[in-house]
Amino acid sequence: MIARALRATLLSDDGPRSRLLALLLFAILIGLAFAPFLFPGTRSLNVAAKICVFILLVASYDLLLGYTGIVSFAHTMFFGIGGYGVALAMSRFGVGWGNIAAGTVGALLLSLVLSLAVGLFSLRVKTIFFAMITLAIASFFAILASQLSDITGGEDGITFKLPEVLSPGAKLMEAPIFGVDITGRLLTYYLVFAGSLAGFLVLLRIVNSPFGRVLQAIRENEFRAEAVGYRTVNFRTAASVISALAATLAGVLYALWLRYTGPEVTLSFTIMVDILLMVVIGGMGTVYGAAIGATLFVLAQTYLQDLMRAASEATASIPLLPVLIHPDRWLLWLGVLFVLSVYFLPAGLVGKLRAVSGTQR
């Protein structure tokens, strides 16, 4: 009874609908919630924080790509606005909670205005034009960020300090818990985790609302959705605004975690490609796909390279093979996986898991 009520409120009655998927998601949730205790160490905590941020970022992109059928390449722009917003506020106006809030609000406002402008200006056109136009706008923004080095720090980006409580040096408790020191870093991690989880659940709520249904109707048949009486342009614009705001929030969290922001980590086209890979491999049109995709991708990005390095060294005597499995070539294999999943797994891993369980709608 309680479980059902929880499912209805927290998950918006959109359960995983596959036992294996539920298990995986639960494992991810537990893994992330207790990451500092389960996987102690700086590197694994970095990975966990990155997974948290990217789950939110990818879920927000899925609202566009998977639910509404809009291909935008400007998503990193909003991610970057969040990062730069908080970084600028902290480095310019000094360290403080008020400035974090001010930077976040400022970034959200800028994203709101920009996404409204982009949406109203170009969402009337076809998918392909929108994709091309957003690509141009995003690259312009990235160049602007690296050119205006007086404000943004150029290619170097901005490094900033966090309030005392969140700094790694701050000891919040005298005694360690389960052998882990309770530092400001840990608190920052839980801030990131809570922010991402909240954002994720809100997005889950949105896609399962009547509004989300209309978005899916637009994706399936825009003409028909319009004929039924929905102003599709308004809905598409609203979807892109919500998605932009969520991406901005993800950017804020990421900047807080890294205590840094720069073109490489937020604005580059590589990040955009990463997001695309995560959405498609995880599963378009399911918010859970974002969680699976982001986790798999970030884990692969970090640990697959180690594996490939070992394999590459082991096969050093064979021609060509070591080059193909060189650790720097990990993206090659994910690219192949991406192409294969567009062909064979149009609903991604989540879709596959649901189909196996036979409970797909």
């Binding site: 291909v71 998918t127 690509l135 060189h326 090659l332 994910l334 991406f338 149009p346």
Partner: protein, 345 residues
């Protein structure tokens, strides 16, 4: 239709009907000279204006070579290939691979040897680009005809894989590619100095443009391509296999991209794995400004973008790419489907 049949019966030859020719829309053509004229007082120095104009035209011509195929591919089959940039990069790398062993030819102080080496490199780049395009059409694009979302995704995937394979084959580092001896340096007209290679690029681009226009407007194949762009189903209903024509156009477009890649690599004197992806943004802007599916529009747009980025790059270097995006927005406000809207989709 009946008139056509009777006329065919009368003299046995192909039917000849005087279809009133669509008058050429001249306003977009005036934009290029207009841009040149407007920028003259802004730059305020005739010699640098000449240098910039030639640089802009050269850049525009090279972009046209790379972009024209993309535009036609879209017009004919409603396919937008985000991996078009991969053909450019591969073309550039093939150009380097061919030019390096020919060091004797490129360093010789002879126009003939130099040109031969460059022509060979361009031909090789075109050939490899074409083969790659054929494979790409087969493996990547064919299964997703008519599905825009999947097309964008799958060609993005193709771009990632192609870029990574380039790393595997040619290594991750930037490869320097010096221009052949006689192509280096500049020529001075009065006080204005113009780089030789830019003049060559303008020449090559113009030749390719004229050749394309002749093929499209004066041959039967060109007629089929243009008709296919206008109304593919009708052409198919008349019994032509538009699919085959399309494969040909796809291959030709990829070959031109490869050839343009070599030209661009010589212009920049270096080759990087990311150059294709970077150029794609300019190419998209050009294709949108020109109107998807129109070769003439693509040409005008490429020249406009080339000129704009050079003029603005001189006047306000920080917003060079911004200027082309501004140009795109202005054109789209004036003509929402580009200068010469062709594809009615």
């Amino acid at each position: 239709m009946t008139r056509a049949l009777t006329e065919e019966a009368a003299d046995g030859g192909p039917p000849t009907i005087d279809v009133p020719a669509t008058p050429l829309d001249k306003i977009p053509l005036l934009l290029v000279p207009a841009m040149m004229l407007v920028s003259l007082p802004l730059i305020d120095s005739f010699p640098s204006w000449v240098t910039l104009t030639v640089a802009g035209l050269a850049m525009g011509m090279m972009i046209f070579v790379m972009a024209s195929g993309l535009s036609l591919i879209f017009g004919l089959m409603d396919v937008l290939n985000f991996a078009h940039g991969a053909f450019i990069t591969v073309g550039a790398y093939v150009g380097v691979t061919v030019l390096r062993p020919l060091g004797d030819w490129t360093s010789a102080d002879s126009v003939l040897d130099n040109s031969l080496a460059v022509l060979l490199a361009m031909a090789a780049a075109g050939a490899v680009g074409g083969v790659l395009g054929w494979l790409f059409e087969r493996i990547i694009v064919r299964p997703v005809y008519g599905q825009h979302l999947k097309q964008i995704l799958i060609t993005m995937g193709g771009l990632i894989v192609a870029e990574q394979l380039i790393h595997v084959i040619w290594g991750p580092d930037m490869i320097p590619l010096p221009k052949p001896t006689t192509f280096k340096g500049g020529i001075t007209f009065g006080e204005a100095s113009v780089e030789k290679y830019r003049l060559i690029a303008v020449g090559v681009g113009a030749v390719i443009f004229v050749a394309m226009m002749l093929v499209l407007n004066r041959t039967r194949l060109g007629l089929l391509i243009r008709a296919g762009v206008e109304d593919r189903e009708m052409v198919e209903a008349l019994g032509y296999r538009v699919g085959r024509v399309f494969v040909g156009v796809f291959v030709a477009g990829a070959a031109l991209a490869g050839l343009g890649g070599t030209m661009w690599a010589l212009y920049e004197e270096s080759v990087r794995a990311t150059m294709g992806a970077e150029l794609m943004i300019l190419i998209f802007i050009v294709v949108i400004i020109g109107g998807l599916g129109s070769v003439g529009g693509c040409f005008v747009a490429a020249l406009m973008v080339g000129l704009a980025s050079n003029y603005v790059g001189f006047l306000a270097p920080k917003i060079a790419l911004g200027s082309t995006i501004l140009l795109m927005m202005l054109v789209l406000l004036w003509r929402p489907s580009g200068l010469y809207p062709v594809a009615k989709r």
